[in-house]
Amino acid sequence: MLTLEHVAQSYGAKPVLKDISFSLRAGQIGCLLGPSGCGKTTALRLIAGFERIKSGAIYLDNEVIARPGACLPAEKRRVGLVFQDYALFPHLTVAANVGFGLGHLAAADRNNRIEEMLDLVGLTHEAGAYPHQLSGGQQQRVALARALAPRPRLLLLDEPFSNLDVELREKLSLEVRDILKHEAITALLVTHDQHEAFAMADVVGVMNEGQIQQWAPPYTLYHEPANRFVADFIGQGVFLPGEVLSDKQVAIELGVLDGRIPGDCASSGGCAVCGKGCKVDVLIRPDDILHDDASPMQAEVERKAFRGAEFLYTLRLPSGHRVLTLVPSHHNHAIGEKIGIRLDIDHVVAFRSAE
């Protein structure tokens, strides 16, 4: 459906995208996730057709829409866009905004489609309002309806929820996902917020410094990060020093872990097999550590954050290293208290330590 092949872009001498490749299947929702300045917005603008590509190619429905020296103009791509600032037309009503891209339809068809879209986003009663009379969430939905109305082949969403408050953000992102799935729209989202990415996307590309670090479903990103950046950027966790015992075992302060070792070579490439005796850093997620009063392993509560259903404890190990753990909130321990913990790790994520 959408394919990027070795796409690179630079502004002057400064490279912004270096060799990006990925694809989306029809109906799939993808996401480019990364810190600001990672190049994700540039990728989005290249796909939309607002910038001319320097090298590589972009395909949509098996058709080249961009390659160096020639690109299909944005208005011909049938790629819908939801802007970060929504870019609603202030001089048009909600209905007129939604109908804006439907100039090719007969009046009756156009009105039907507008109605359908407003119904879809639940704004039927606001059809005659002007954008500035709406709340932020409503404006966001108008922008979505407007982009979807002409039945785009692909929908792009640029930080679509960043202007909304947290509660609304979660509610809307699920709502938008439902709408997209209902309409069987292929979509690509760009965001710096992993909650947004995980709530919306089937597959996520984590980007840093103009490169895709890992292209995978959210679950994989979390549990099998391909490199240290992804591991750091996605979810919470800490690294504990460890030593490789064999190609299946690694020892850390909390015990010996079984699993494939190391995971460092997946995407960054070029690393030698880390043999016996090699020093590694092992990723420990909060959910890898369970509270168990019976456990002989003890750690001191250093900080705690109440999250309603659970506490997030920062624990200090005897070595001085710290780990995080999520504990149901009826286990209320005081700071300074020592509690028992044990490891519960499905698969080991470890990277060679920088010597």
């Binding site: 429905d61 891209g101 090719h104 954008p131």
Partner: protein, 554 residues
Amino acid sequence: MPGPEMNPVPTSIRAPFTGARFISLPASPWLATFPIALITAIPVVVLLGHLLHPDQAIWHHLWQFVLPELLANTAWLVLGVGLGVSLLGVSLAWLTAACDYPGRRFFAWALLLPLALPAYVTAFVWLGLLDFTGPLATWLRETWGIHWLPPIRSRGGVILVMVLALYPYVYLTARAAFQGMGPRLTEAAQSLGVPRWRAFFRVALPMARPGITAGLMLALMETLADFGTVSVFNYNTFTTAIYKAWFSMFSLPAAAQLAAILIFFVFVVAVLENLARSRRSYALSTRSSQMPARIALKSWGAWGAFAWSAAVFGLAFLVPVVQIADWAAGVYQQDFDARYLGFAWRSLLLSGLGALLVAGLALVLAYAQRLRPTPAMQFTARIASLGYALPGTVLAVGIFIPVAWLDNQLIDLFGLERQVLAGTLLIMLLAYCARFLAVGFGPVESGLSRITRSVDEAAQSLGVVGVRRLARIHLPMLRASLLTALALAFVDIMKELPITLMTRPFGWDTLAVRVFEMTSEGEWERAALPAAVIVLVGLLPTYWLIKHTEHAHT
């Protein structure tokens, strides 16, 4: 269910690339702006051509005896008028755009009216009223024995009168900027603990800078180009030297050289200003287009605002107009006749067509610059705006010389009986464009700068580009700016003299030409009649402009 365009786009890879439009895209805005810039550039180049033949004796004389004083005079004038029009224009714009006080609705449009008065007529009225021989001084002398009044024929007097005549440029553009701004920014500032009046200085004022600067540039360019107003005060400026070289020393080359220096100076200032501005963005997201609740001024604040507005309106418009009306009434019997229908009709026709052309070309220019914000494009736009800084008569000659040359070529080539270009409406309108493009360009450019780029892209991603996007998105969003450009160009062309004189067809006298015929023989009272008609005709578009821009924001 899919409409005609909903069918899958041809899968052939070549299909999208058949047209040459991808390659020509970067060039096309240039193709549009280049001829527009030529309209101004040709006269300027014709004048620059005179640089090759410096007139040593005249230069030496001017440099030794004339220029030092005139440069100082000009610097003071520019400084004084710049400060004055900013103070009046911005304060009144803020009051009428963001506050509420008694009379605000009236002042909102009435404060623009001085635009309809030729500045030199206002100057003559004030000179007559405040000079030693005027009624005020006479009354003070004869009733109270007071012999001293601040001299009106002074640097301060010229500055005061020019400020009163030119502040509406800043008022108009600043007001549009304040109106387009919406409440969020000042509200944000307030939420950060900045009181509302300081939010004005820290947020609203800096945000309105493109608008204020656009108006200020217009006012200062007109100040530099002015000859009529300073002549009334016998205040010699750089422009005086230009006319002295030409009319008194019979050296058009020396005059052209001086004019070239003047526009070079203006060009440099314009480029610097542009550079300073281009580093920031003034675009606002659409969500803040909501009008703020006006600040309801209370007690002394309200009356202060009323008094300030009333004082400026009175001094800049009411007093001159009453005097003009009085004079006009005196000569009405003697001078008013059916020909005035023709004068007024031709003034309206020329101003209307000229304003449409100016606003249209300004839109093309500003729009091309938005599509391709390259240095070359900005250079082109600056060149096209220079005509406003040239003394009118000098520009008129710069326009006439190439037109006459072209006519002569055509006559030789085709054995024509007479000129086919000179004395035609087309040349006249193009000449107005050469002079007044800046007047249209400023408001349109600053209006465009307030539309975010994502709005453009949103339309594009919905398949609407080019002329259709212009018509469906930009024109409606630019409505207020375009109306401003139209109204400014309209009243300016209505008052314009040198180009009208030089390019009009035989018998095509306008109201402004009538004013010229009378004032050039010192018959100011008789000039009041056509001047009064100019004001009456100019009232309509001013009123209409403000009514419509008000509406555009509510």
